[in-house]
Amino acid sequence: MLEIAFAKPALPSSGALVLLAAEGGKPAGLWKQADEATGGAITRALEAASFTWGKGKTVSILAPGAGLSRVVAVGLGKAEAITPLAAEEAGGHIAAALGAAPAAAVCADIFAHKPALAAHLALGATLRAYRFDRYRTKEKPEDKPKLAKLTVMLADHAKAKTEYAPLRAVAEGVFVTRDLVSEPPNVLNPPEMANRIKKLSSLGLKISVFGPKEMEKFGFGCLLGVARGSAVEPRMVVMEWHGASNGEKAGAKGAKKAGKPRPVAFIGKGVTFDTGGISIKPAGGMEDMKWDMAGAGTVVGLMAALAGRKAKVDAVGLVGLVENMPSGTAQRPGDVVTSASGQTVEVINTDAEGRLVLADVLWYCQHHYDPQFMVDLATLTGAIIISLGHEHAGLFSNDDDLAQKLTAAGTETGEKLWRMPLGDAYDRQIKSDIADMKNVGGRPGGSITAAQFIQRFVNGKPWAHLDIAGTAWATKESACVPKGATAFGVRLLDRMVAEHFEG
């Protein structure tokens, strides 16, 4: 993880210097000092590049003099529009622009009166500097990214440091997610993922792991049906964080009586690899199906973030981990399975397995924890990509207030959601001739019928479902997200909890 330090503004005598300004900014403070020390080289270079500090624009000036290896100018755009998100994006651009520099000092005078923005800038740089390179064994040193330390300089550096501490915990949660999602499917199978989650107990999370025997007892016929084709066993992992009730079992009956808040709950789809099962997928692009556990990975990262920053909330995260494989023991199209709720499901397409996993885990969650609300995350449907693309995740909810809170948190963190409809007309599409429902409703409204399916396992609780199939993995980088696993949802849910469910 990128090392972040906050310090008093001082012109460095060597190394890289980052200058920040809004559109129309004039040299002042460190910028002016640096310009004078280099005999006006910076001003001349910026003029030559016609640089006007537009949002997201950067220019690098190599060896401008005064011992500096480089000066990187990063534009913040319109001064009145510098939100925490804009500061994060600027931080991301800094990390991307620094390239071969091992360390840099950032002149953040512009945030003198808003040290929180300096903290968000540091978060953005940290998020962008992430790299998953566990499996690179022969990379040449010159190809490795160098940036290891960023020193953010502003007068109130102590305040910025305080503000950064919880953000750093969130970044750590994001990295937990990105690591899990990036891992190959032969390494990260359900038991291995459960083992990795167990290690997070060092953060103060109470972690329980359930295997097929317990699932039989819980009546998880839907989840176990999906698992049948694989040589590895499924797991359900439950993570409890008692930030509000300090040690009592979240949601336990006693806690409720004592006036303790009911927990908030997050549920993730964790298909560690999805071949589609007997309804096997086409070969092209199947490797992407290693990230079909991104919903679960996001829930794990979120719980790590909440615990890492000691959030004052009782939260529970549940993930259903399973591998969907075709084999002689695999479930078939036409099979009927019985869910933990007692409702029966006719399996029409074995590749619509995510909703089967969520059905049982959601049911378990509401009956064991009686949560205030449930949010589930899943890379659930291709249809959501055809509906919305990769900029927004699909949001489905039975509760306008919850939906509104999620949407707002998404806008603030840049993890944008778009509300999609639910309704009886869609629900009718999953009527089965021989069971309570079937697991697909045809091509029209495919994401909506998937959500309708899940809703049948929600017992009137406030609930939201995030279909993150289009946003869990990035094929091109953006300001704070390198190519690959995005951890979409960790920051948005962390923000929603912080704004509405703590204290």
Binding site: S387, G389, M420, P421, G423, P444, I448
Partner: protein
Amino acid sequence: MRVRIRRRAERSIHAVAIPVAGAEAVPPRFAEAARAAGFDGRRGSACLVHAPPGRVLLVGVGDAPGTDAARGAGAAAAHHLSDARRIAIDATALPSALAAALAEGAALRAWHGARYRSLPDPEAPALTACDILADDPHETERLWQSAEAAVVGTAFARDLVLAPGNKLTPRNFAAHLSRLSDAGVTVEVVNAARLRALGMGGLLAVGAGSAFAPRLIVLRWRGAFDAPPVAFVGKGITFDTGGVCIKPAAGMEDMRADMAGAAACAGAMLALALRRSPAPAAAVLAVAENATGAASYRPGDIVRTYPGTTVEVIDTDAEGRLVLADALAYTVAQVRPRAIVDLATLTGSIVSALGSVMAGLFANDPALAAKVAAAGAAVGEPAWWMPIGDSHRADLDSDVADLRQCLTGRRQPDACHAAAFLREFVGDTPWAHLDIAGVEDKAEADETAPRGPTGFGVRLLDRLVAQSFEDPEA
């Protein structure tokens, strides 16, 4: 079907429907029959009772019914009693607004449309007349007359959509609009030579493969006050083969309906004229046939649209956005409207997104979008607001032209891309776009609607105008 509003039933009518608002409201003389049939007056339920010399249909509208429930009950009456020549619906226990809504639902459900049969049509309903029995016939009559215009407009749009590609062509499209001229709408046809002079490269490219040259048809309703009109723009592809990027054969016959957007605009104009709406309105229909021919346009072609924007053609089957681009820009420049709503059977993507339940709604103006959505909800033609994100526009950057027409590949948010594309052609004019692919045609008849074209959009536009554009001070 003819609707008459009366105070009492005629003795000669032997099929009567009675709306029932919940179990308590079952008329005592049918209580036993209702109990036996398990009928409890719930919305969507119905129970046919034989009461010689006639039949009585109890139709549930639920407790505290609204216009939605009443429309549904009217439709159910027309559906279950379609073999009777004349029916009556007893709305005497209901407020006038619901009595009018019953009539509306029955009339919409009873439409069958002109078929092209030489032998008698076995599916044609016998039903031709419906009496609505109301406590206040005058008020009910007044309300029905304002709703009837849009019902007629809807039937008109459905008939246009039903017309196959060899009967309704770009050449004779305007001839099918004589009913609008009769009602006082001016119909202007911009022919191919004029399109060339205007530089409508999008519409001309799409129409190039066909034996029938494309047209732009401009409809104007003067209204009663002097103000910029509200404008409707419709995609009118009389048949869509896909062009050089030809569609698979299976299901291609449905592509006769690819002019449903233009039909809805024409139907809405007819409705405004029939009810003498005070609002000035205009409609611009982009009419072409997307045929495969030696002169067809190709993927890779670059076409210059009316405002000069160049477009790199990627897929000749994404033709709707090209004809709409020209039509939208023409509307902005020549009609100078207060607001534009366009309707188009534009993308398969919207069917994946919203199915056949709702249309996709895109807009550059949240206030207009909210009005369109509210109008749709009020008349039972729902539209769901969808995004035009920065990434959708960025995806349309082209290496060789101002815009890429679309993206290749199976998993694309093509409905969002199409909307981002269209937005480039409306400038600052408040604009909403309804992607009606999926809702323009109903695969199976049910209680609520007949099989075939729905006329989706006519009643929405009519209501939008009534709610938002008829106040000269607004």
